[in-house]
Symmetry: C3
Subunit: 374 residues, 3 copies
């Protein structure tokens, strides 16, 4: 069901009446090591998770390293331009192969005893091992991980035989084509180390009830009550908000780059959460993407990228920092209240509280999440 | 049983004969996470604990934040001048309400979604919640904690229905009235982070057997063998020591302020431990109070306040640093040997050792403590 | 069975054929807290472990402090020149007696209440304890630990009644006499904090298969394939490597001191591992000794000493830094790959990999180690 860029307004309204039964998750979901382990096992080790964008692997031999569910993975483009994902572990004595976060090379050589693998993972060199009886190089390829691309974004899945990524994203087919995401390039990445459970960031992202108090500058240019949702249940949730005439989501209030595509309405911004670790914010002239990486019940690493049209980089008026600084400020305002929530929820006095009508998407996110845990 | 300031000398002597059976506590009491959890549950979550002094809440709307048994509490004076204690947790999504350690305000507003509570804890504002069926503000007051005042000091109790604070302190009724504690004001607070079990600080405070080796300056002005005890069992323990003629417990050896009250004998200092987290040191011209906050079996935060008569602050010869520096030096000497004890006790070679006759108060403290744990 | 310094070449060759069944240890041996606890209990608390060299206790009253299996020990030379080892714990209230790492004194006095012990561990002073019924000083000597010396090196054993150290080292009787180890003196100690399991350092030390990639400078002067092993099973493992003519294992390539003894062949260096915590590297002009101290499954402290002939210190051309810097560089190259192995082995993708013919000593070490754990 391809949706137009302006989004079919099936449920384009906030709920008017709202059941009193909708409450926040119990304390254990935010502090329990057992539930955290379950999440890492059932969600981050079994679902497709965002790890990057294909622009990070522009050339044959480019690679980058990510950590998924505690596992270091090498994502690499091979000589045939195919993207692979491998566990970052030598088959000889288990040595970590790549220490750096990204790089380029024609092969993967272990720094310890120089066992060498092709970019497709096959063992192509192992000194002195020909003297070992019954040793066959073919038995010692790097361990591979499922990898696939959606709209230019690279996802991996640690499960043995997961359903294809295309199937997973079928409901969103074509919905974002106006934003040209496969060809975009990142101008900036900022990493955040947040002392809060990863779910609090989803709940925070999914409502603007908090905007008046937390984001004075954002609220000035994008009214908090202009939020309307078009995806209201399942793994993909969100909608859009209006930007005031003559305003923009940058420090200057001006557009900071040429549009990423044929965007009809320049006064709208779209916010979607993609279960389990992607926040997708679609602006007229840039796409902002958060990756969320839970580290413990109380800590999450967040990587935020700002993507622009490749031609934007060559224009004189290109000023990505204008958007980056605006959102870096806004991100930090959000992480602060998420950290305060984490602190309060850990109290024996905490009990699930009532969601407001402006928090229907967090409630929907909780509901989808609970399917994996209970 | 009001006691005179010079204290009825019921047992005003050190024990002459001393049973060989009196030994230090076993290792587990200093290192076991299970016993630590028991202490937090049975003592710090069920007993009255010192959290501050009413001078910290001089005005309506003044508040401060403390952590009791891992729980952040807001202590606040309301419009009717009543002191309240609340869990620092918003009833909406659990957010920590106050991040600062103290401040002033006419209401308590959540930094996340602006839910607002009166100084008496009642929910007085919750945007959009009127749209929620069956939502009643009266159901969402802040969770309250028992609070009461003794001699100007504020105590809280996390238990549901504890015996009144007055009952607890009845045995000390009037004993300290000469020191005017309700009207005193603190000139200084110093925080200490000590890598030792909290009980070691009580045992350290309760004897001067260690003074010759550990406190050369103190021992010079206040002979270690002048210690006499008047409270020798139960939750309140201690006695007094002499100060040499012409000497004082300050760096200069001079009095550093006018007396806190009508103190008969200026050559005596009184030391009492108040179970479970208060050390009360009564000097002629100042009152020093330690709060002990166990953080783990091996770590304790200690806050030390020095209180003076409010009129002392206006006198020309007022020099509180003269006392503060003396005791800061002495405190640190004590924390060092407590840390060394913690290290040694953790050894497999440790076994309970024999208390000397000079350590009858530590032995009594251990005995009272054990009632809660065994 | 005394072996000559040039070593009887019983098995002086690398294995030509090598069984395919020889594989690295399973993941649990490198990450499991349970196995770590077993190692601390069965190996580090029951076996003789290296703690230092008698040159550290040159005078009566000299002492140093070490930590064995989490236990702080005082190693001290008493008035009769006998070396003792004691738990660093006062018998009164458990206080750590010595905070410093080494020093000198005529007695051991507790810093808390001044209980005082002779250098032989007997309690010789305890103020006021004569007032305690049935208190006998003789009952409160310091707790002693087994201690013995081999070739000048001091070993302790926390077991109750271990077999004598001489018996343990009987197979090496006289093997190293040419190096004069009892009279050597250390010119330098360097401590390393390595984020890797201690066994990885033994496995690393025991093969030079990694040398071409990891140690370019070492490989240039000492060919990796010149390694020949003479001790190939049991607690003592190793052999020797050749040094190229005109080269040396120093930064300059020159000898940096006079020989430690009557070394026949100046172009050979001997490398032995002594289970469980000693690496013994015998050069013509210095002896390098590593002590390995496991801190957790993932962390090891390593102390490396460089010993020279006492007369070397007086010679003009004595330049110990020439050797120290060479090996400090080489040590750090080794610790890096050990840390990378630790990281990779912790992955779910790790599985035991095949040892090459050049890794027969690591395989033998694993086999000996497993006797204690399985």
């Amino acid at each position: 069901m391809p949706l137009s860029q302006t989004v079919a307004p099936v449920s384009r309204k906030t709920t008017e009446t709202f059941g009193a039964e909708s409450k926040t998750l119990g304390q254990q979901y935010f502090v329990s090591p057992e539930i955290f382990a379950k999440e890492q096992d059932r969600i981050f080790s079994k679902q497709w998770v965002l790890v990057g964008h294909q622009s990070q692997l522009a050339e044959v031999g480019d690679y980058f390293v990510v950590v998924v569910a505690g596992e270091s993975l090498i994502i690499v483009r091979d000589q045939k331009s195919v993207i692979h994902a491998f566990y970052n572990v030598c088959r000889h004595r288990g040595t970590r192969l790549k220490e750096d976060t990204c790089g380029h090379g024609s092969a993967i050589r272990c720094p310890y005893h120089a066992w060498t693998y092709g970019l497709d993972g096959r063992l192509i060199g192992a000194p002195h091992m020909d003297q070992v009886q019954d040793f066959h190089r073919g038995d010692y390829s790097l361990h591979a991980v499922n990898v696939a691309v959606w709209e230019g974004f690279i996802f991996t899945n640690l499960a043995d035989s997961p359903a294809p990524l295309d199937e997973w994203f079928a409901p969103l087919n074509g919905k974002f084509s106006h934003w040209n995401m496969p060809i975009l390039r990142a101008a900036k990445r900022i990493d955040y180390d947040v002392k809060a459970n990863w779910k609090l960031m989803f709940q925070n992202y999914s409502e603007c009830y908090h905007c008046p108090g937390v984001h004075p500058m954002l609220s000035k240019v994008s009214p908090y009550d202009s939020a309307e949702n078009d995806l209201t249940e399942g793994p993909f949730l969100g909608g859009f908000m209006k930007i005031n005439k003559g305003a923009g989501l940058t420090m200057s209030g001006q557009a900071c780059a040429l549009p990423v595509g044929k965007i009809e309405n320049l006064q709208e911004v779209f916010y979607y959460s993609i279960f389990p670790n992607m926040l997708l914010s679609l602006h007229p002239e840039y796409v902002m993407v958060h990756q969320l990486w839970p580290q413990s019940p109380e800590r999450t690493l967040i990587m935020c990228d700002w993507f622009f049209h490749p031609q934007a980089f060559e224009r004189e008026y290109f000023n990505p920092e204008d958007a980056v600084q605006f959102w870096d400020m806004t991100n930090k305002q959000d992480w602060r209240v998420c950290e305060l929530s984490q602190q309060g929820i850990a109290s024996r006095a905490y009990e699930p509280g009532p969601y407001s009508p402006r928090e229907s998407i967090p409630a929907a996110w909780d509901g989808y999440y609970l399917r994996f845990i209970t």
